[in-house]
Assembly symmetry: C2
Homo-oligomer: 383 residues x 2
């Protein structure tokens, strides 16, 4: 229990490293403010699939394949995989990562799944159960609309409080600090296979840049520099303020984000001053206002420090996304493409990453139930 | 990494204890061969809910409440909760365990979820991240039919290869070996509240018997004897033999069960002789035949040692369940009510518990996809 702090937090004796990550997004995300930073932007949103669900599976497949390629690792080098998505029975994951053959733990935490996966993955490593872990999550605008709302063909109108589900997948490779990577020749065949399957742009350039930077891919016992380190977590609990509006999920999730943040500060004995930024997953503009209000009631002023992936990924006005972006992919691709970069390059020293999730379903909505929510926190620092 | 064995297995330095468990089932399960062993049998299958989904949530709520009551613990004594079910977006869990306020990790592993929850929960404890963990899973015949197949009112015919989704929930409390329980007076108010909400029979008797047996509930630093111990796991990977028949899930899952079992034997250097029984989750009679055939092809004869929860929970002929029982609840309630009892009372020394799951959804089925499957293994021994 020496790694436990407070009621629901874990502080690792030795931080766990994020050694590589990859982001694959759709066309709309590619046109957003972070567009140039993603590893791959799809030419269309099918990603070679025949259905939206297959498209989402391909997103996961490509993200994981790319993360492995960046680290010059093979699936067998990864001990466990944590994966999840928004679809019923998590089919995007089951059909997305199955061919890698990595021992698999399926998760459901709605849009917080990226945080849940990284939390559990990091604990597996810090607990001594694995040296390398992969975490993959995704969402897709069209598969999510079918799953939660209406078929696209129906052309329903969306209220201004609604968010836009991000088409994207982020994959992360975690490792025990200081672990040497297995040396091996570059897998040219594997890379060609990847290029054949993918239909995106930018991937080859990203990989080349990555390899130039590492510069050691072919040596034995390579030492790849980590992108960032996970120092610990605060696990979220389910918070339900009784809201029922599935078209205003930011407001539904804000209480969960505030609950986890307050418990995090208490468990860790920290305050906003200890972080360069506190970055929520997908509260959007309305959720952000509610979140800041709830914190102000607790005497916490977070206005200056708070960022939200849902507000970063799109230009809300120009791209007509209303309250902002959402979905498991939203915070995953923002973390991979932008947040880790800020940490890696030293612009930020330490951030709190707070992915939020709304645990509703179409059935629970139709039965008039509330929207219970959850939020997991991760303490991230530079390498 | 000293706790890792082989490619996908973990062997704990110190086994993790299952300190208490509870099972709540529906009327049909109460009439089956294990009927007298369940802690609570519902008078109807609504469990006080207005919808089938609410009924399933209430199953989880009652199972967890009962497990906590048996151990005379409060929710705050439990550090993390792992929960999951079959429904889209795991709503049975989100609405079932939310009021306990325990930091929550949502899982999706279809009918293998009980094994996934116990695996991750045990690793959390063995890794030093928690002293006590709760694991809860459930399924409900009527909510599963609506989720995966047809509304009950439609009255569709079921082929003989189909299984019957178990209405039931199993809750388990794990703890670090040798941990003393916090002393406190019995919570009479809490128990009355539970009885008010529950509508089942047998619960009071079970609790009284439990308390008689423990006999130490009111002392400080109580020492409750464990029911069984988890010595380690072998994590499953997704296995897909290309089968598409959602009305024959036993056959779909058999390859995943065989894959995990073979890898378990390899990782641990064991054979069937090391176990009193190898107990799969819900292969049913057709899946069992396929499973034994697949193993025979690898030179493993498991016919004598193999049991299947799906075949134990119902009298297949008299209860007209065709291939057997299935669902997250199937292996969870069988483990709680029967398997743990056999271990606790010394009839068995060591078993391998192999919950199996079919990772399909209605959407993936309708889109003509295969049924990818998974199976997690846990090594259980008596206290």
């Amino acid at each position: 229990m020496e790694q436990c702090v407070g009621e629901a937090s874990v502080r690792f004796r030795e931080p766990v490293e994020i050694m590589a990550s990859a982001s694959v997004v759709g066309a709309k995300e590619g046109q957003g403010p972070l567009g140039a930073l993603f590893d791959q932007v799809g030419k269309d949103d099918y990603f070679g699939g025949k259905t939206w669900e297959e498209a989402e599976s391909n997103l996961q497949k490509e993200a994981l394949r790319m993360a492995l390629a960046k680290a010059n690792l093979e699936p067998k080098d990864v001990r466990f995989l944590f994966a999840g998505d928004l679809l019923g029975q998590s089919i995007a994951s089951s059909f997305g990562v199955n061919e890698f053959g990595i021992p698999h733990f399926g998760l459901y935490g709605a849009c917080s799944t990226c945080g849940e996966a990284l939390s559990l993955g990091a604990m597996m490593i810090a607990g001594g159960f694995a040296e390398r872990i992969a975490c993959v999550t995704s969402s897709h605008f069209a598969s999510a609309e079918r799953e939660f709302r209406f078929p696209l063909e129906y052309g329903n109108q969306r209220p201004l409080s609604a968010s836009w589900t991000v088409t994207g997948s982020g994959a992360f490779l975690l490792r025990r600090a200081g672990l040497q990577e297995p040396g091996k020749a570059e897998d040219e065949a594997g890379r060609q296979e990847f290029e054949r399957v993918g239909n995106g742009v930018g991937w080859q350039e990203a990989l080349d840049a990555e390899k130039d930077r590492e510069g050691k891919c072919e040596e034995k016992g390579r030492s790849i520099r980590a992108k960032a380190r996970i120092f610990g977590i605060t696990a979220g609990r389910i918070v339900d303020f009784g809201l029922k509006d599935s078209m205003n999920m930011g407001a539904c999730m804000a209480p969960a984000a505030a609950d986890t943040l307050v418990r995090h500060f208490k468990d860790w004995g920290r305050s906003p001053a200890d972080y360069d930024h506190v970055i929520t997953g997908d509260l959007g503009s309305i959720g952000r206002a509610a979140f800041l209000d709830l914190l102000a009631m607790r005497g916490i002023d977070l206005a200056e420090k708070h960022l939200d992936c849902g507000m970063l990924i799109y230009d809300a006005e120009k791209q007509d996304v209303h309250a902002g972006g959402s979905g498991c992919g939203c915070c995953a691709v923002t973390l991979s493409a932008w947040i880790l970069k800020q940490l890696e390059e030293g612009f930020w020293k330490r951030v709190l990453f707070l992915p939020t999730g709304a645990l509703l379903s179409k059935t629970s909505f139709n039965e008039g139930k509330t929207v219970p929510c959850i939020c997991h926190a991760l303490v991230l620092e530079g390498p």
